[in-house]
Symmetry: C2
Subunit: 471 residues, 2 copies
């Protein structure tokens, strides 16, 4: 087996050249065919080899995108939307060449509606930029994947992160999107009302479609008030099972955790080394509560009681912005911490999500698999969602090690599906997980392909990703 199951797509060389010459007239300097820029636009935080687009265009308006897509449709040329390039499963590769639309110059926040707790913005705004803008208004946007990703890209991949246990994922926090469809028409998928029963849920169809059904050029997101009180802490356990069982009981007790993140013993050591911390070399839960002063006090106390039942250490709760930032920065730096642990390696960030009752088993069996195969593979996860990542650190020129990692990942995916889980909780299918889509969804994968064909009959929107069009 190969790490990624890349679809063979034939390249329409003539059409691409014609489209580029027409687009060059329309976009001038904003279109580039330079090698390094094209390389940069196929390079992602992934183990999958780069496949370069033939040109990159920097869009500035929805109409720019509509023009590009229309011209490409006329000449049957693929279109690949691009944000921060932080996808993990080959989402921005161009297996059939074509035009990469870079959306990062579309980075305006168009309207913050404070009364409605929503914001309308362009897709190139990053989550950190948005939160800086919102801070003075007492509002924030909670979804935080590891990278400082663009919000359009986060919507396209149905991203989540550490706060999803409390605030949901992009699925739950996108009110509507404006998207350019494969025929160049522009659709707005919904009103600005917070709920609707009006027809098929096109917002949820576009969110998570990974650019295969349309290019998101504007979106409205739900916002949340910055809580009066935020307390964060770390709690250490003897075993991963104890940490998982603490999480389950806390969830069942209705404790409104804003974050509950697990690092296994290995990951904890890596964070110590990279971020200059001194946690014990044990499984660690990082927790955060949001609410009123009294409410959070009550919640941290209850959490402490639950953790103690499973042998958890005392939690030192920190409230100040500085102390919390330090705690979460170490968590967000998990990926560089891994890479630093084994210089020269690549980290293959897998993604599995199971019902929380199966989490401890799934993690334990995966750790055993890694140990048996001599893999250095730290685990970190959003355990309140049953979501975790195991990241084998691989020397890519060691073919035997690559093969052992492949086998472990294959077994992890099959184990996850057998446990009524999903092969990706938040990274998306891209190219890397396509082989599991059919295994997970069965007839559903055929329905997805039918939808894809009905909206994108020529398979021009980010082809070779997510669905297999021809079954």
């Amino acid at each position: 087996m190969a790490l990624a199951d890349l679809e063979r797509v034939e390249k329409n060389v003539d059409g691409i050249q014609t489209a580029i010459s027409i687009l060059k007239q329309r976009f001038g300097e904003r279109l580039s065919t330079g090698q390094s820029l094209r390389e940069q636009h196929a390079h992602t935080t992934t183990y999958i080899p780069s496949q370069l687009p033939d040109a990159v265009i920097f869009a500035q308006l929805t109409q720019d995108v509509a023009d590009i897509v229309t011209i490409c449709a006329q000449h049957k040329v693929p279109v690949i939307p691009f944000g921060t390039g932080t996808s993990l499963e080959g989402g921005v590769n161009a297996p059939a060449g074509g035009i990469c639309i870079d959306l990062m110059q579309m980075n305006e926040i168009l309207a913050v509606n404070e009364e409605d707790l929503d914001v309308t913005l362009q897709p190139g705004v990053t989550r950190e930029e948005l939160n800086i803008e919102l801070r003075d208004k007492g509002l924030f946007f909670p979804i935080d994947p590891g990278a400082n990703a663009s919000l359009g890209g986060m919507a396209a991949t149905r991203a989540s992160g550490t706060n999803a246990v409390r605030y949901g994922t992009m699925r739950d926090n996108v009110v509507n999107v404006t998207a350019v469809l494969p025929d160049g028409s522009i659709v707005k998928t919904g009103a600005r009302a917070r709920k609707s029963s009006s027809g098929y849920d096109l917002t949820r169809l576009l969110v998570g479609s990974e650019g295969t059904l349309g290019v998101i050029t504007e979106l409205t997101l739900k916002l949340h008030g910055i809580p009066e009180q935020i307390s964060a802490g770390a709690c250490q356990f003897e075993t991963v099972e104890d940490a998982c069982n603490t999480t389950i009981l806390a969830m069942q007790s209705g404790l409104p955790m804003a974050r509950i993140e697990l690092a296994d013993a290995l990951m904890t050591q890596m964070m110590n080394a990279y971020s200059g911390l001194d946690y014990a070399a044990k499984p660690t839960l990082f927790i955060e509560f949001h609410g009123t002063k009294r409410g959070v006090a009550e919640q941290t106390e209850l959490f402490g009681d639950i953790a103690a039942e499973f042998g958890g250490s005392d939690v030192l709760w920190v409230d100040s912005t500085e102390a919390r930032s330090k705690l979460w920065k170490a968590r967000h730096d998990a990926y560089p911490a891994m890479l630093a642990w084994r210089p020269g390696c690549k980290g293959i960030a897998t993604d599995a999500c199971v019902p929380i009752s199966r989490l401890a088993d799934c993690v334990a069996e995966t750790v055993r698999d890694c140990e048996e195969r001599g893999l250095v593979a730290p685990i970190i996860g959003h355990v309140g969602d049953g979501n975790f990542h195991v990241s084998p650190l691989i020397m890519m020129d060691d073919t035997d090690e690559v093969a052992r990692a492949e086998e472990m990942i294959e077994r992890l995916n099959l184990r996850t599906l057998a446990m009524e889980g999903t092969c990706t909780g938040e990274h998306g299918i891209g190219q890397g997980k396509r082989r599991y889509l059919k295994l997970e969804h069965g007839v559903g994968a055929d329905v997805m392909a039918a939808i894809k064909r009905s909206i994108d009959p020529d398979n021009l929107m980010n082809p070779g990703k997510v669905v297999t069009v021809h079954s």
Copy 2:
């Protein structure tokens, strides 16, 4: 204009007769062509005239449904799924005849997964039945449309109700569905993990599709822990604007209201009369908080402070199950209370949902419209979501009154859309709102039609509802 914009669909008389004779052999006594049963299965809580199916079959298994759909597909016969028959926009009418599949004998709760806070069940289980089953486990399912509807029907119409402000709608609380597709194949739309980035969101596509893409035969729902403390109360205001502004400020303050319901002065009087209460004849907010003892105490206090800023009355908070049940029973009895107010009338329950910042204006303009037209039209709504219902009480043989109600409703829908709202927050499109689908969604309505054609090319699944297949 007509109250409902019914699509003309040609009836396939021969195919229907052939299918019925084949289905009769397969289902025997469980298939009926009796007039009264067919009438009952077209009758709903609606103003739209009944259009009867040609036969009703009581399904007991997913495979029953698959068999019915397969046979109907072979003979190009429409299929209409049926739950409790409480839809409000003609969702179970059979404009082209066909087979009504009654799913109410599929009423088993298959698995309650307490650790995962989810339940898997058949579509005929009603929300009240589920909550009775869950009570001993300390869990509950929050979504509560006015009727004691079936959970399959609630999923199909993307229903919500009074708790949606805190717990979301069916969109947010359905983990996956099993559905029979128009070709008779069976799809399960997702795993049991609480989040996923695996392919297109087929769960959200089926939820709210109103039986036009498939028949839901099993579903997994999120559950929630019964809170330690529940406090409810009523707060009265001089104006609807004051009540709306209180709601906005409470939402902005991050107060986690479990319910916040508005009755205008007229509706409040009707509730007094029907339920033997003695509220002042003023706009009233009914509020509920869920949480810990200390948390709820803090929240009710904060709410009181906010309401006072807008001239709200003191709130008498009640905690006991009995007192809360009495308060909410009066709210849930709003519909019979309306009908009792004007004996012989029909209540046309409209449904509009706007960004909350526009709610006061939208309600005020609607009240003015009703007054100018001499309509008796109480208002009740889920104001935390910006969702409200105005229900003109009409003598259906008074053609002038019907015309005035039609005009008011038309104006309400257009006003709602102009305010970036949706023409239905929770009732669905059915037949009654089809004319607004295109106005609301534009190109999106075409995308919906394309999806419908790709999954149901012969337009056999609940035809004449939601989408206009042939543009």
